[in-house]
């Protein structure tokens, strides 16, 4: 058998699937984004760049991109610092190390739907018997309508803590793997040079040695924040749709193209293309930082 035939025997099935389920949709989406495609996926009315112009001046879409930025600005640094802290703590102990690692990693077993259920109906329930309101009650405070109130926007506390709980363990594992790759002799050399364990070794050895891991973690966190959908949909969505705040881009596209927002595939596709370009841009930028 020639190498060419062997190659396609191995790669062919995957390549065809990639073509049909990744490249055809992307192409179709590009096509739809240049048409007036309301209530149909086989449109006839070519509108040029109008959908793009509409989306780039569309207040709800822009504010959904803004929402992502706010969300990312909270969740990325918080997850980074806390996951690193957990990794350092777990890595420094010997007794019960496996136990603590497992406990912090266990939430990864839960879906965003399950976490939303717990957060919305139990921890941050707006009535008196919610856990957070029970704790507030011990201090004599009034119950707070966590997911309803927009001023102050308590729902951010709900959404950020939810995601922290769910993803900290995953990134802690990444950091632990990174820490274990740091050669021990670097620390020994530093001690001989008089550096004290603690801040100094962290600052001058651990953090620089974790550079690759750190960049990977930030990249993964950013892309994940861009794609936020599950917990927003389940915590804030109701049976009559989604409120006009805290709307991440995917939620907005979901309601524009598929939901009750008008089955508008032209604008939905244009929005998806813009979002894809944004994510690809971030990825490329990050890739440049890694390889430099």
């Amino acid at each position: 058998m020639s190498n060419g035939r062997a190659f396609w025997l191995f790669v062919g099935p995957f390549a065809i699937g990639l073509l049909v389920f990744v490249y055809v949709p992307i192409g179709w989406s590009l096509l739809l984004s240049f048409f007036d495609a309301r209530n149909t996926v086989t449109p006839t009315e070519f509108v040029g760049l109008r959908n793009y112009a509409d989306m780039l001046t569309d207040q709800p879409f822009l504010s959904s991109l803004g929402t992502f930025s706010v969300f990312a600005a909270f969740i990325v640094p918080l997850t980074f610092v806390l996951a690193l802290a957990l990794a350092l703590l777990v890595n420094q102990i010997s007794f019960m190390q496996a136990f603590f690692r497992s406990v912090f990693f266990l939430p990864t077993a839960c879906s965003y739907v399950v976490a939303s259920l717990v957060w919305k109906l139990s921890i941050f329930n707006g009535v008196r018997f919610g856990l957070a309101n029970t704790v507030l009650g011990w201090f004599g405070a009034e119950p707070v309508a966590w997911t309803v109130s927009t001023s102050p926007p308590w729902y951010w506390l709900v959404l950020v803590t939810l995601r922290l709980w769910l993803q900290l363990g995953f990134y802690m594992i990444l950091f632990i793997a990174g820490l274990q790759r740091i050669p021990q002799h670097l620390y020994e050399a530093a001690w001989i040079d008089g550096a004290r364990p603690g801040w100094q070794t962290l600052r001058y050895i651990t953090l620089p040695q974790l550079r690759t891991t750190s960049v990977a973690v930030v990249l993964l966190l950013l892309v994940a924040a861009y794609q936020a959908f599950d917990e927003f949909y389940n915590v804030l969505g109701t049976d009559r749709g989604y409120p006009p705040f805290a709307r991440p881009p995917l939620i907005y596209l979901y309601y524009t193209a598929l939901g009750s927002g008008g089955q508008d595939f032209g604008h939905g596709s244009a929005g998806a293309v813009i979002l894809t370009l944004l994510i690809a841009g971030v990825t490329l930028l990050q890739g440049r930082v890694i390889t430099r």
Binding site: N39, T40, P143, A145, W146, V148, S260
Partner: protein
């Protein structure tokens, strides 16, 4: 494009997939018709509609009950080939223009004159009828007589009195009013417009492009910030649980809840329309009827129409059971409504009177989901975020105008 079979043969588990795929109930001929309902909150309705469907002699009909965001789910499924054959909804001019609905004028026959004209009008687009009205729903304000008496509060007859009542009735762990967990922005937007003598759409023009609209919606903000609203209840406004449990003195819900409220509170409650804002405005109640519709993408349109005719035209016994056996609805057919003794006394009788005197269509066909989303989002921003009402209403009016222009040219 590659054929379906070739594609399947590529995946390792093709045989298993095909085997599992075939019994998920997509309707080829000889299989069951698919009928969708949204989830009614009253116990017994799901069993009832399944009973109706199973007694249909000609074909098997599978009923799907859809809890959650029914409008979005229906919209998605109507785009694909896997949607229901028959479903309940209200027609929108945009779906009619997109050819998603089958006209049903020919299934009415002689019964056409038996249907209430105003309800049929909400199912008519460009002179054709797209839904057979199943049951008329209306929303109104429920109040607890004893709570009002204790607080020395009169049933409100203006919007200002309503806000004042909500504030004064809030005491001892009881809140004044429950109008949804979103603070009323979702359900009271329409009534607020009507209270000022405005409307969603009038003669293909925006009906609320008026400074009064900002004033009317601003009142909802005043209500929200009055401290008299219950927020974050376990069940939302459509269920009377908060009212029945004594958590609130007043609740906005619907006629359907009357049997449950009567059971919980006996005679200790009364009902009101949403009050007027000013002299030029009027009290109002939102009225609408889900109709049985046929999906134009169905492969068995004729069978689906025949089933609709059988259930919603011929079987008046089922129609009566559906309208009055569980939650209360007003039968859309005069012959059944006249016999409805349950609607002749107490709160139900008041509701019938409100519908006669103060009805406003809650989902008129020319009020499409795009317009509704634009309007509701604006109202929500005013009510919950304190955004300036005049700018928000202007913005919403602009979006509605664009959509009207697209639909009517």
């Amino acid at each position: 494009m590659i054929s379906r079979r070739r594609l399947l043969s590529l995946a390792g588990a093709s045989a298993l997939l095909a085997a599992c795929g075939s019994n998920t109930g997509r309707g080829g001929s000889g299989q069951a018709l698919k009928q969708w309902y949204h989830a009614y909150g009253e116990p017994g309705v799901q069993q009832a509609v399944e009973r109706y469907a199973s007694s249909y002699p000609k074909t098997q009909v599978d009923v799907q009950w859809n809890p959650g965001d029914y409008d979005s789910k229906l919209a998605t499924s109507l785009l694909s080939d896997g949607g229901p054959d028959v479903f309940e909804s209200t027609p929108q001019i945009s779906s009619v223009r997109a050819g998603q609905l089958v006209p049903l004028d020919d299934v009415f026959g002689d019964a056409r004159n038996d249907f209430s004209e105003s309800i049929l009008a909400t199912h008519t687009v460009d002179g054709k009828i797209y839904g057979v009205p199943q049951a008329v729903d209306m929303q109104m304000l429920f109040y607890r007589k004893s709570f009002l008496a204790q607080a020395g509060v009169q049933p409100p007859s203006t919007v200002d009195e309503l806000i004042d009542a909500a504030r004064r009735l809030t005491r001892d762990g009881v809140k004044g009013l429950f109008a949804g967990n979103d603070g009323g922005g979702g359900v009271l937007g329409g009534p607020a417009l009507w209270s000022a003598g405005l409307d969603y759409v009038r003669d293909h023009q925006v009906g609320f492009d008026d400074p009064l609209a900002a004033q009317a919606i601003g009142k909802l903000r005043e209500l929200y910030t009055s401290g008299g609203l219950l927020l974050g209840a376990v069940k939302d406004w459509a269920e009377p649980d908060a009212f029945n449990q004594g958590l609130v003195a007043m609740q906005w819900t619907g006629l359907w809840a009357v049997p449950a409220v009567q059971k919980a509170l006996g005679d200790d409650f009364g009902v009101l329309p949403f009050p007027k804002l000013t002299g030029s405005g009027r009290p109002s109640v939102p009225v609408g009827a889900f109709g049985a519709m046929v999906n134009a993408k169905s492969k068995r349109v004729d069978e689906a129409k025949e089933f609709v005719r059988w259930l919603w035209i011929e079987r008046t016994d089922y129609q009566e059971d559906f309208n009055l056996g569980y939650g209360f609805h007003i039968p859309p057919r005069k012959s059944i409504a006249e016999k409805a003794s349950k609607l002749t006394t107490g709160a139900a009788a008041d509701a019938v009177k409100f519908v006669r005197d103060n009805a406003k269509a809650s989902n008129p066909p020319d009020w499409t989901s795009v317009m509704r989303t634009a309007f509701n989002d604006a109202v929500s921003r005013v009510v919950r975020d304190g955004a300036p009402a005049d700018a928000e209403m202007k913005g919403a009016a602009g979006k509605v105008r664009d959509e009207l222009k697209r639909l009517y040219g």
